[in-house]
């Protein structure tokens, strides 16, 4: 709602409604209703077929087509002289030469055969037409689904872009915060003795281990630091990692030692302004891209 910009003393309902509608469009992005998807698909389909003729009983039509294909062609002899009753058929076949004495069934049989062929051709064409209609329907469904998928892909792209923006912002913010966390405590000056012990430890430090009780304590401390410490250390950190370096937590919260040099801290903090604040550009992204900024209910 932050981008609505109406002063209460100059309300214009028409403008407000335009803003509301624009915002709805913006929020919906490429999100369409079912009807709109169908309309879009119909527009695409109109280029090559008439969507109004598309049937919805696709499966049933395929089954029917299979059943239709089982229809046999007409058998002239069988149909002319045959009979469902076997003995009648037998008598007819026996009397067939006699029948030929009285009439010439040849033209009749040719006509019947021709009719049979025509019928078969018509059946075949009908079946092809049905198949074509089924293909039309398949194409129609595919276009609808493709449209839907296209829209979904667009939606997902937008979402990925939004998430990646948010991730970038989070990373920048994390870096800025890390900088704050790392450098403010480092301002505490490390004692000279500590500077000397650091390298000695890394090289083996055999001489230092002569004092058993001190060495145990040091090892314990080192162990603790090793578990919780960061791998990347700036020179300032390395300088402050001596025995007297104390703890990182309190320093982070701004409890810097008395000899801390603020100038050094300020110079080395990445992403920090000279005044010790996080860069406004990064800080300003919070409310816009954070998950809480999304309006409920729309």
């Amino acid at each position: 709602m932050a981008d609505f910009n109406i002063r209460s003393d100059s309300v214009n309902v028409e403008e407000i409604m335009q803003q509301i509608r624009a915002r709805i469009r913006e929020k919906r992005g490429v999100d369409y209703t079912e009807q709109e998807i169908r309309d879009l698909a119909a527009v695409k389909l109109e280029k090559f077929l008439d969507p109004s003729k598309v049937r919805s009983d696709l499966l049933e039509q395929y089954r029917q087509l299979q059943r239709d294909q089982a229809n046999p062609y007409l058998d002239i002899d069988e149909d002319l002289f045959g009979s469902p009753r076997p003995w009648v058929g037998k008598v007819r076949r026996l009397l067939r030469p006699l029948l030929k004495l009285f009439v010439n069934p040849g033209p009749l049989m040719r006509a019947a055969r021709l009719e049979s062929v025509c019928h078969a051709q018509w059946e075949e064409e009908r079946r092809q037409l049905q198949q074509l209609q089924l293909f039309y329907e398949l194409i129609h469904n595919m276009v609808v689904e493709t449209t839907r998928l296209g829209i979904e892909v667009k939606n997902l792209k937008m979402r990925v872009e939004s998430l990646s923006d948010r991730l970038d912002f989070d990373e920048r913010r994390a870096r800025a915060l890390e900088g704050t966390v790392q450098y403010r405590p480092a301002a505490t000056p490390a004692p000279a003795g500590a500077e000397a012990t650091g390298p000695r430890d890394e090289e083996g430090g055999a001489a230092a281990e002569s004092a058993v009780s001190k060495s145990r304590r040091r090892r314990r401390r080192r162990g603790r630091r090793g578990q919780g410490g960061t791998t990347e250390q700036t020179p300032a950190q390395a300088a402050g990692s001596g025995e007297s370096g104390a703890h990182a937590g309190p320093r982070i919260e701004g409890e810097a030692g008395p000899a801390a040099t603020p100038e050094a801290n300020r110079d080395e903090r990445p992403g920090a302004s000279p005044e010790g604040e996080i860069q406004p550009r990064e800080a300003g992204h919070g409310p816009d891209t954070g998950p809480g900024s999304q309006e409920p209910g729309t």
Partner: protein, 453 residues
């Protein structure tokens, strides 16, 4: 000046829109003229049964003459006639049969008008679509003012009514949209007409807190006032609000005031308060954050005007031209045409208190400027004065042997066609005629500028 208000029902407990409108007008004009009311004995607008005694009566100081309804309405026959004239090609005779079936059939009232018309200066008829208005205006056309209370329903497309719109002396419209619709269907630009509307009797003292205590409604709420009916858009309102409540956290409740014809869905954020007194109604509106008007058909929303009088914003159904026009002209209400707009507008009104207050302030100003009683009374009196001047002028011309005023007589002599022509089914379905009428709110640039000023 003696005026007669002619209306289908009249009484202190009759709260239909046109009837209440007629009562308010009668009571306010009574301060400037001798006003009486001619009406029927009916109380129920569905059956028109004679429930009140015929004869004279007095309501709030106004003299009432009631006439019996000759026959009650048969809903079955009326539905059959409606189907014929609204949906099929039909004849004038079919439309006359429809008008008789609709009622309230009061030939005694029409006879009274004809016989006693010389006793009155002018008759103000309410609701063009009823028997009393059609036959009454035909009987006393030269003295008839019409308050049509026309909505965008199929009755406006019937062939019977354009001669009535052309035949009345003057028309007092409720809204510019109504005027545009009637002019489009009847081409009656020559008939004097003015957009008047109606004021409201808002109590001087309001107590929103008392209402909240009485009805234990302590959260923020949007209110709907009126009959809870599908025709009023309540089904869509319930659907939209339930979706809104499911998706939007918060405590905004929908309070419903009025008699329920449609079942109210059981929902923790929908409260049905039933029929309440006027004081409670106004207290409720004063306590509400926003008034919702979901109706599809209105000639003028009195409830919206009342909300504006109380400085409350309105969220209206934008598919109703009149409501949308009212919102645009007043700059005092938002409107919606689908769920997304409903939710966004309601959220906006709930969250942006400055906007809601500004809309409410605009509404109050709009009400005071156009719908306060001095303004309404002034418009009626101006129109009556204009007609009186025209009559005086016509009488002078007549006395001087000149021609009568053409404007006065224009369209007044339209007779019904003959017996055979009346039965020829040449009229198109009324719904088709209605759908062909121009749509949209009648908001001119001038009116917008004026409303902003």
């Amino acid at each position: 000046m003696k005026l007669a208000i002619v209306v289908q029902r009249y009484g202190p407990d009759i709260n239909g829109g046109a009837e209440l409108h007629a009562r308010y007008v009668a009571e306010h004009l009574a301060r400037h003229a001798d006003v009486c009311v001619l009406t029927t004995c009916a109380r129920d607008y569905v059956t028109w049964r004679n429930e009140l005694p015929a004869g004279t009566d007095r309501v709030n100081g106004i003299q009432i003459s009631r006439f019996p309804v000759a026959r009650p309405r048969s809903p079955h026959a009326f539905a059959r006639h409606s189907d014929r004239v609204f949906e099929q090609p039909h004849s004038i005779a079919d439309e006359l049969a429809w008008l008789d079936a609709e009622g309230p059939a009061t030939p005694a009232l029409v006879r009274h008008l004809k016989a006693r018309q010389h006793e009155y200066d002018y008759f103000i008829f309410f609701s063009y679509r009823y028997y009393h208005a059609y036959h009454g205006i035909r009987a006393v056309a030269s003295k008839a003012l019409l308050v049509p209370t026309a909505e965008r329903d199929p009755a406006i497309g019937l062939g019977l009514f354009p001669p009535i719109f052309r035949g009345a002396r003057a028309i007092m419209y409720n809204s510019p949209e109504e005027r545009a619709m009637i002019r489009s269907v009847a081409a009656n630009q020559g008939v004097p007409g003015v957009v008047v509307g109606i004021g409201s009797e808002v109590p001087d003292r309001l107590s929103p807190e008392r209402f909240r205590r009485k009805f234990r409604l302590h959260s923020r709420f949007a209110i709907y006032v009126g009959r809870i009916d599908e025709n009023k858009g309540c089904r869509e309102l319930f659907e939209f609000f339930q979706r809104y409540a499911a998706r939007t956290p918060g405590d905004l409740t929908l309070a419903l005031v009025g008699t329920s014809i449609l079942p109210v869905p059981p929902h923790p954020r929908i409260r049905h308060l039933g029929f309440v007194s006027d004081q409670d109604k106004f207290d409720a509106m004063a306590a509400a954050d926003v008034l919702i008007m979901p109706s599809f058909y209105e000639s003028l929303s009195m409830v919206a005007l009342e909300a504006w009088a109380l400085g409350r914003p309105v969220l209206a159904n934008g598919r109703c031209d009149v409501l949308r026009g009212q919102c645009l002209r007043s700059n005092a209400g938002l409107y919606y045409e689908n769920y997304d707009e409903f939710a966004a507008a309601l959220l906006r009104l709930g969250e942006d208190r400055d906007l809601a207050a500004a809309l409410g302030a605009n509404g109050r100003e709009f009400f005071c400027r156009h719908y306060s009683w001095p303004v309404i009374e002034g418009k009626y009196l101006d129109m009556l004065q204009r007609l009186q001047d025209e009559d005086a002028d016509a009488d002078r011309r007549k006395a001087g042997g000149g021609r009568r005023n053409g404007a006065r007589e224009e369209g007044r002599g339209e007779r019904l066609p003959g017996w055979f022509a009346r039965r020829r089914r040449t009229l198109p379905p009324a719904r088709e005629v209605m759908e062909a009428l121009p749509q949209g709110p009648a908001v001119s640039r001038e009116s917008r500028v004026a409303s902003r000023e």
